[in-house]
Amino acid sequence: MMVPMLGWLAMLAIGGGLVMGFGIAPREVTQGSVQRIMYVHVPFAWVAYLAFAVVFVASIAYLWRRSAAADRVAHASAEAGVVFTGLAIATGSIWGKPTWGTWWTWDARLTSVALLFVLYLGYLMLRGMIEDRERGARYAAVLGIIAALDIPLVHFSVFWWRTLHQPPSIRPGSAAMPGVILAALLVNVVAFTLLYAYFVAKRSRVLRLAEEMPA
């Protein structure tokens, strides 16, 4: 009951976000309509970090309480997180080509997000490779904790690695945003957060059904 409602709510919010981003928000002066990709790019990146934070909390909860539900949430959230990280990288690339003139640059922020992507791909691989369900859940929980603690280290190291040697790239959106643009962005952030919650709820349910299914 709750889950389908969450889905409809997410769809409604995404519709509203699209209207806000493409219709109501003004064209950016220097970049033109290309800049509108921000309305999905930023929410994707936000949801990715949120998802990995949820993996961290759910992993601790699993090791502490041994509740299978926490394990399923961690699993589902990691999958959603990897998908949204991939989307953030893809939309960033599409945005970067016309504005920076390149699909990819080893900029600090790009690199750290790319590292998160491979880190959690490894997490999903570990889950896929262990047959014993309980053991897999335990190992994945340990890795979920380690990976989350690694995120600040990745952040600092990659930041120093890049920005001590070359000036930071000009970031669109680093300038103060007019109210309409900010509002449109916030609506989209909320919309994609709802979508993420829907994904996790749905996927957790599928995982539970798969567990209950007689082998």
């Binding site: 490894g122 603690l149 990659v158 120093w160």
Partner: protein, 225 residues
């Protein structure tokens, strides 16, 4: 006291086994010599290019040797039901982790000393004058690498595609460490001293602390039946 004793027993057992089998260390040292050939053949034509890439190559060598060495650290326990023996042992399970970590540090240190000496001889690097800094960076980097390597080795010991999964898990996690080590080594080899890369040294120390503490705290969950 008993905790340290448990760790020591594990370490002593591994040293004794290795002393009699002479398997891992010999192959590893041979592997590091081979790495030198690879570096020379791929980059050596141009001396300047090789010199510029040296800090990276050095740590590439350490990491590759580490991947081989660390990944094997729990394999020996799979034979003759040793795994069950470890589980049945009394006391805190994380003592096993500490013992294994100490063993891995010894193996890595041996390999690193040899690789460093070979670099000095064959690539004409002035290792001596930079030695104190190199040792500090080496120790910091190796602790972090071995700490997570030991955790993942225990995790992947029972997995089918172990030799694939181990590097796939370890490498992305170790990027901060690798960056810090390469940058600090670069500074030391250029004679700049560690003062100019203090933030990297601090990052390495922080990473070591996090990795070792997490490794100790999570090990009992890995070793459950």
């Amino acid at each position: 006291m008993t905790y340290a004793r448990h760790a020591w027993i594990i370490l002593w057992k591994d040293i004794a086994t290795e002393r009699r089998r002479k398997e891992t260390l010999n192959a590893l040292l041979f592997f590091s010599v081979l790495l030198l050939f690879v570096f020379e053949f791929t980059l050596g034509g141009d001396r300047d290019r090789l010199t510029a890439a040296l800090p990276g190559l050095l740590w590439l060598g350490f990491i590759l040797a580490g991947l081989l060495a660390l990944g094997r650290s729990f394999l020996i326990e799979r034979e003759n039901d040793c795994w069950e023996g470890l589980l049945l042992g009394p006391g805190d399970k994380s003592a096993i982790y500490v013992g294994k970590l100490a063993g891995n540090l010894l193996v890595m240190a041996a390999v690193e000393v040899v690789v460093l000496a070979l670099f000095g001889v064959f690539f004409n690097v002035d290792v001596w004058s930079a030695l104190p800094g190199l040792v500090l960076v080496g120790v910091l980097g190796t602790i972090g690498l071995a700490a997570m390597g030991t955790t993942f080795a225990a995790m992947t010991a029972q997995v089918r595609a172990r030799e694939l999964l181990f590097p796939v898990l370890l490498l992305p996690l170790q990027v901060p460490l690798l960056l810090g080590c390469v940058k600090a080594t670069e500074a030391v080899l250029n004679g700049e001293g560690l003062g100019s890369v203090l933030h990297w040294v601090q990052l390495l120390a922080a990473a070591d602390l996090i990795y070792v503490v997490v490794g100790v705290l999570t090990f009992e969950f890995i070793l459950e039946a």
